[in-house]
Symmetry: C2
Subunit: 353 residues, 2 copies
């Protein structure tokens, strides 16, 4: 955990230093540019995903899985795997198997998350647990998870299997830790950071790391790719937690205030709670810890978050993690691919603007 | 699917041919004898299971997992892995990792099954989903599943990883197929057999097969071990489906009539449905397909199963699969270990007596 980064004064990250901020124009198309650079690989990955999510035994599997997989997810994680491998000069095709693996693990966790969180929407559509029920969502998640292991086994690389099986375990640990701590208002960010490093950043980290491993890079380059993914993943989750209180519904494909209604003590809430006077703290205790919510509470929460600068501070933290992520890429050749990865990193944070 | 075995006249398997039946005495202690033959290995496996189910991040994981893992499961599947490896002359320790893997996969599927089936009891105790809720059961299942992959990766054997990751996918397919077909009264056993081969027999099959693989046996011996496990697994599930209508509550650690209440069209039900007159078929349609059950229905179902000889016929089918399983062992040296595996196979069916 980058203690230094997190304790740094966040004021010097604001718009008073415009030279540190990428232009809006470069951010807007960043994702599309990165995607274009791996377009051929990505098409192969989409083919793998479509063919491997099918079960001859149980047609329901492909029906449910495709609802989620075809619903316009950005494929950010598999694209990171493809880009990391190509950045390291890889010319084979095994990174496609790994990218599909990563997307299947991600999809499996989404299916189980939505059951656990009782979510009603995902990627702008009704979620699978609402449409088909919890039971198929649990079992199809298990299937995709197993398929992901079959895919990675096909690479024949034990090192890759170590990394991805460990990441899967860490993700589950993070989910359980979150479940045990979600309605707790802590006085520090320790558990919150552990949860997001595990439940979100671990898969980003593994996604980029295995791209390097399959390309046969040295341990230092592998570690740099892992750090890039991990810090990007932390930033991604921080921004997600900001957007839950402020993003446009259509853009995110999910409702605003989901975290609030579930009483999730995300970083914005923790920051506002800590800075608040006693009535404010009592409010947060009622809605988060006791989960006794009334009409108008979300609106009041938004006012308190604004007063405490909690959303801007969380976004500033995200930018610090992005800065670390980008530094990790400095050892790689300055190619259009590396530039696109840096721009996408900025774009992840730009989502809060 | 052994069509020949299943269409064979089952009358010649009855007590009129006592020489084909093992003595009650040899059956009773069979499991304990097999267990004793791998006692040292099993102790190491239990140590692995205890240490690997722990998560430093999330203590809830070990709490929930140990509730199930320590609840007196027989460890039949890991014992089969240990015995298969030793039967093939294996002298290393990797089979212990595989045995722990198999138990973790089994435990993960139990946790998810109980969520899907809304079961209240498991192994004579309240089930985890009742005690902790569905959410931790789903997530701890995911954790154990991931851990199982970490364990098998430690063997470094890609062939073993192929077999076990494929088995995991097949299990999930079987569960989904069951979900889609459970309340259907089919006129043949095709889907029922596909379900039990996938959801139950696939793990038995992988458990014995990887024991041979890790010992480095030739493909024919590997296939024989796989067949032994698969046929034993089919018999095990057939007997389980009989016991749901007849076993002693205490012995099974779960309630009688669970399948009935869930409207599961297991083989006994399918047999009674097919042999029944129109009022009988209408009864089965009401309780299984429409799931409209009234007081006294379970008792009436038991009478109909008895009239149709459905439980004895299902048990006879199980004995046929056991016969195939035992034949698959004939190529291996006649050691106490092989004898114990044969006796345990008989014991699996003897549970219905």
């Amino acid at each position: 955990m980058p203690e230094a980064a997190e304790s740094r004064d966040t004021n010097n990250m604001g718009p008073s230093q415009p030279e540190a901020q990428p232009s809006a124009a470069s951010q807007a198309g960043a994702y599309e540019r990165l995607r274009a650079l791996v377009a051929e690989d990505l098409e192969a990955v989409n083919g793998l995903i479509r063919s491997r999510m099918v079960s001859e035994q149980a047609p329901l599997i492909a029906e449910l899985a495709s609802h989620l997989i075809e619903a316009g997810g950005k494929r950010l994680r598999p694209i990171l795997t493809l880009a990391a491998a190509r950045l390291c000069g890889y010319e084979g095709a095994h990174h496609q198997l790994l990218a599909a693996t990563v997307e299947f693990i991600h999809t499996a966790t989404l299916l189980h998350d939505d059951v656990v969180d009782e979510s009603a929407r995902r990627r702008g559509k009704e979620s699978a647990n609402i449409l088909w029920g919890n039971k198929p969502s649990v079992l199809v998640g298990d299937f995709l998870f197993s398929r992901s292991f079959q895919l990675m086994v096909e690479t024949g690389s034990i090192r890759v299997l170590e990394i991805l099986s460990t990441a899967s375990a860490v993700i589950a640990e993070g989910e359980v830790l979150q479940l045990a701590s979600v309605n707790t208002l802590a006085d520090d960010d320790d558990i919150y950071m552990r949860v997001i490093r595990a439940k979100t950043a671990a898969l980003f980290e593994a996604a980029t790391q295995v791209g390097g491993v399959i390309a046969g890079v040295d341990p230092e380059a592998e570690a740099a790719l892992a750090q890039f993914g991990a810090e990007l993943g932390v930033a991604f989750q921080l921004v997600d937690d900001v957007l839950d209180y402020g993003g446009a519904d259509a853009r995110l494909g999910k409702s605003i205030g989901d975290d609030f209604r579930e009483g999730k003590a995300t970083l914005p809430v923790l920051l506002a709670y800590r800075k608040g006077d006693e009535p404010t703290r009592e409010f947060w205790r009622r809605v988060i810890v006791k989960r006794k919510q009334e009409e108008g509470d979300l609106e009041h929460a938004l006012v308190l978050l604004e007063q405490a600068d909690a959303l801007t501070e969380t976004a500033a933290r995200a930018r610090e993690h992005i800065a670390i992520a980008k530094r990790a890429l400095e050892r790689f050749p300055q190619t259009p691919l590396r530039q696109a990865l840096e721009d996408v990193s900025d774009f992840v944070v730009a989502r809060t603007l």
